[in-house]
């Protein structure tokens, strides 16, 4: 998946000459946490986060502050140079940047110009979609030997029952490299016939399973 598929293109920006006060207003009004600072040609020259702005604001314990600090130019507190990404970067790779660098936001630049923005929140939203719970569906987890051809074998069971698969995830099975867990969300309210087919075919189901213990 590419950055251009998940980036937001209507980016809220400020010129370097704007005041910190203006930045504070924008952060609150749009409920955002980052503002790229750009010049007239949309070149990124810095970025400010809500934390930068807060650090520059007087403490809420200080009474009678005249808030004159907030009249300073935004360029005085912005971070630069800025780590940016390209629309054709892979989402999986920028996830790595988020994790390693502990940023929460990456501006997207093409031709030296700001064209979009991706936040950690956008990534998480994509993850929610990948797990498929936004579409009416039921959850099935199958433990399978880690061997070639196993995924189509399992998936054919759903095909035979004319049931659409909304999402598929492959997880490791604890620390055992010889098994994988396949997680499907399938578009049906009645997974029973499929569950029966899977059991008849000899697959071990992690869900639905028979968790209850035997009676004492």
């Amino acid at each position: 998946m590419l950055v251009e598929e998940i980036m937001k293109t209507d980016v809220i920006t400020l010129p370097p000459t704007a005041t910190i006060y203006e930045a504070l207003q924008l952060l609150q009004k749009h409920r955002i946490r980052h503002i790229p600072i750009v010049d007239e040609e949309q070149h990124i020259i810095g970025i400010v986060s809500d934390r930068d702005v807060r650090d520059a604001s007087p403490s809420s314990f200080i009474k009678n502050s005249d808030h004159s600090e907030l009249q300073n130019k935004i360029r005085s507190i912005m971070t630069h140079p800025v780590v940016t990404i390209h629309p054709l970067d892979f989402v999986e790779e920028i996830a790595r940047i988020f994790y390693d660098e502990e940023f929460a936001c990456l501006p997207v630049v093409r031709d030296n110009k700001l064209t979009g923005i991706v936040t950690e929140k956008d990534m998480l939203y994509k993850l929610i979609q990948l797990t498929g719970t936004h579409v009416q569906s039921s959850h099935i987890e199958v433990k399978v030997p880690h061997k070639p051809g196993i995924l189509p074998e399992v998936a054919s069971v759903f095909g035979k029952r004319k049931t659409n698969i909304v999402s598929v995830l492959v997880y490791p099975y604890n620390d055992d490299p010889s098994y994988k867990i396949l997680v499907f969300r399938i578009q049906t309210m009645n997974p029973l016939p499929i569950v029966q087919d899977l059991r008849d075919a000899g697959y071990e189901l992690m869900w639905p399973n028979n968790i209850p213990e035997p009676k004492l």
Binding site: Q136, S138, H139, R161, M189, L192, I211, K215
Partner: protein, 385 residues
Amino acid sequence: MTNIASFVYSDSFLNYRFNEEHPFNQQRVVMAKELLEESNTLSKQEIIAPRKATEVELALFHDSAYIEAVKKASNGKLEENEGIEYGLGTEDTPTFENMHEAASYLVGGTLTAIDTVLKGNSEHALNLGGGLHHGFKRKAAGFCIYNDGAVAIKYIRRKYNLRVLYIDTDAHHGDGVQWAFYDDPNVCTVSIHETGRYLFPGTGNVNERGIKEGHGYSFNFPIDAFTEDESFLQVYESAIREIAAYFKPDVILTQNGADAHCYDPLTHLCATMEIYEKIPLLAHEIAHEYCNGKWIALGGGGYDIWRVVPRAWAQIWNVMKSGEPQHGQIPESWLTKWQKEAPVKLPAFWHDDKSIVPNIPRKSDITEKNEKILINTLKYTKNNI
């Protein structure tokens, strides 16, 4: 007022049948009705016939293009690829002859129940043929063609202009009804269901609160798989009392799916008949406290049609009529008749022995998690927004 309660029924409900293997089976309604008749708690003059909902009424909620598609499918004229867009012809909602008529009678039954109560002919009314809460504006889903609950609430809003509290205790999230009134502050939807993490449809999270004007009028309690009576009832009773006090409804519509029972094959909750005695008891109490008794109850899911649904649904009627569920033995005549057809041993008593519940190793964790969900979801009743 002629009756305390009215029971909507006609054999036309049985025509809502997808195919022989399909788990949604309206024979449940017949079994519940006969159980009441054999117990001498339901008499002929309390039964009223459903009318057929008109297309204009269906269009209060459904898209006319969708209604047309259902009608076409009804005559066998809908092509397979045409149906996909509308969720018709899937394993969950296969097409069948006269499906439009069959589904229209279920909706009409709910409208009949509504009119009976709101015109003052009876305090309460029960339509066990209804409660098809997964139906969408232009899509069939989860065994539901037309969403009678959503149509009925639109009808109440349009015709009677009352504030409606919708309480859905089906083990599946009441998504169709929730989305239908997601931006409406005059309709408060409450759904208690098994978490969508595993179960269909997947939605029904605590953070689904409603949007725009309707923000704060959608409540979801996604309880954990393997939840038992005690924790279920703790969530249900606290939630309903608090939400009713916050919303102060004019009328209550309940969807009484009976699939949270430990015998139910489609879900993973572990309740017994105890919840099906207490659910209608509290709905009844709240209806009298806030709505002058105006309470309409619907059926819904329920896939152990032998051991669970007839008793669970009959108790709604018992509570409507006498304020109390029945106790003791199930009438011998009913058992004799239905045992011949049942693949399992029918229960001899109204209540369940707790020994039917399997041993759940993580019971205390489940209870704790459900308590957190309860507190979280109820935050919005404290704000007076």
